[in-house]
């Protein structure tokens, strides 16, 4: 069994200490204004005894307390505490499955460069600008875009063909960059078995039982990102983040609303499975929420839409 790390122990002791100190007040019937010294001393003694007992239990690998703590550290290590290299390995593995599912990159170096230029322009103004991002257009007729942890962003040719100008493209890419910044995909697998006892992903954790658990986790992620979709609130959050990021960069944030409206127009005729239509919340809800936040951008109309350049580089 993996030894507890220092930070986890401190966290647990703090939580347990608070719990222990509150216990007598809940359990005993006390006069409402009795704050006498002798009673406080009783509480301290009681808390000390409990703390000593707790330490014994934490050292026992089979104890209930130890198992609770390990569960808590699983959640911590799987989300905010994960090192970038581990996050990137998850992202790369998922990206391989992305190509398998949605096809290879479109063989058009100019288009790929253009997408990367717009993508980098927004990523450097995103909430997580300090990691490397790459953007790729894949040869799929479905309208879809998704992001792999660590910053690998996929956009389908079908979605690019639906978009009408550069600000709309910037908003779509900023939406995906937003998912990476908020670590939404990672949060969706934070309780995966793989993370039990694993602090970071290494060559050793890719083999044997752990390796199988890693592969199963990537399977779960595919299910979330390619079929089921992320939690609706995560999608709404990514929409809001996209508008903010596009605006900061100098693009019209209304591009987000325009692209959602465009998708709504073609929804009845579009293939749903594996597309933004099936993996994202209803378009009307998204449009409504984006419209509500427009008052944050009073000069949105004056910002760039980039229609001419988009048409020249993409069509």
């Amino acid at each position: 069994m993996k030894p507890m790390n220092h930070r986890s122990l401190i966290l647990f002791l703090c939580l347990w200490g608070m719990f222990t100190l509150l216990q007598p007040a809940r359990a005993e019937t006390r006069p409402p204004f009795d704050h006498g010294m002798s009673h406080k001393d009783d509480l301290s003694d009681s808390a000390g005894i409990r703390m000593a007992g707790l330490l014994d239990k934490l050292l026992d690998p089979e104890s209930k307390e130890r198992k609770i703590l390990e569960g808590a550290t699983t959640v911590l290590s799987a989300t905010g505490d994960m090192d970038y290299k581990s996050e990137r390995t998850i992202g790369e593995s998922l990206a391989l499955e992305g190509f398998r599912r949605y096809g290879l990159p479109v063989e058009n170096p100019e288009l790929q460069r253009y997408i990367n230029l717009v993508g980098h322009a927004v990523a450097r103004n995103s909430q997580r600008p300090g990691i490397p991002y790459v953007f790729v257009v894949v040869d799929s007729p479905l309208q879809n875009a998704f992001s792999c942890p660590g910053g690998i962003i996929f956009v389908s040719k079908g979605l690019i063909d639906t978009i009408q100008n550069e600000s709309q493209l910037a908003c779509v890419l900023a939406h995906e960059v937003g998912h990476v910044g908020h670590k939404h995909a990672l949060k969706s697998i934070q309780r995966a078995k793989f993370f039990k006892g694993v602090g970071k992903i290494t060559a050793a954790t890719m083999e044997g039982e752990k390796g199988e658990q890693f592969e199963s986790m990537i399977g779960d992620l595919q299910n979330v990102l390619f079929d089921k979709g992320l939690d609706q609130n995560m999608e709404f959050e990514a929409d809001q983040t996209a508008m903010e990021t596009a605006y900061r960069t100098g693009y019209d944030p209304q591009g987000m609303i325009q692209v959602l409206e465009r998708l709504r127009e073609i929804e009845s005729k579009a293939k749903k499975k594996g597309s933004w239509f099936s993996t994202h919340p209803p378009l009307t809800d998204r449009i409504q929420k984006c419209r509500k936040s427009l008052n944050r951008y009073p000069d949105a109309d004056e910002l760039s839409q980039g229609k001419n350049r988009f048409q020249a580089r993409v069509r």
């Binding site: 390995t89 290879l104 790929q112 230029l117 103004n125 909430q127 490397p132 693009y251």
Partner: protein, 158 residues
């Protein structure tokens, strides 16, 4: 909650550099001289604002103009020290380097761990090669600035 723009008044004049490659300019135009490129996360004081630009002062006392989109009212998320080691081509430490390097940051192909995953999954070579190629894409700061300028985006709008 997302970071938001602020139009600082006398009661609210602290902002954070929240973009990679944020340039402090000698005037409120992108074409003016660059005084310095400020690091991500630096706390600055806003002395006044004009159009979409703020006149700011750094903790070291340097003053100049910065486009509003490079600043926000909360600190940006910083990657933990050392996390980027061995990952960022041409960079050292945590991978947060100079402005020149910041946008050309890239990953050197598939990691050893991803290769192991691909072996276990019998991933066809064409998908591995595709990802390998995608990961080597780099965009230099110079190319990005040229792109923004030609599109009249952000600080290049006027």
């Amino acid at each position: 909650m997302d970071r938001a723009f602020v139009h600082p008044g006398p009661w609210e004049n602290t902002l954070w550099v929240s973009s990679e490659g944020a340039k402090l300019k000698s005037d409120n135009t992108a074409m003016s001289d660059t005084v310095k490129t400020l690091p991500l996360g630096m706390e600055v004081s806003v002395l006044r604002s004009r159009d979409r630009w703020h006149y700011i002062r750094t903790p070291a006392g340097e003053e100049g103009w910065m486009y509003r989109g490079r600043l926000s009212d909360t600190p940006p998320e910083m990657e933990a020290e050392g996390q980027g080691e061995d990952l960022f081509a041409g960079l050292g430490g945590n991978g947060i380097g100079s402005d020149e390097a910041s946008t050309s940051r890239s990953i050197r192909g598939l990691s050893k761990e991803t290769e192991t995953y691909a072996d276990h999954q019998n991933t066809p070579a064409k998908y591995r090669q595709a990802l390998d190629q995608v990961l080597t894409m780099t965009i230099s700061d110079k190319e990005l600035q040229k792109f923004l300028k030609s599109g009249r985006i952000g600080e290049y709008a006027n």
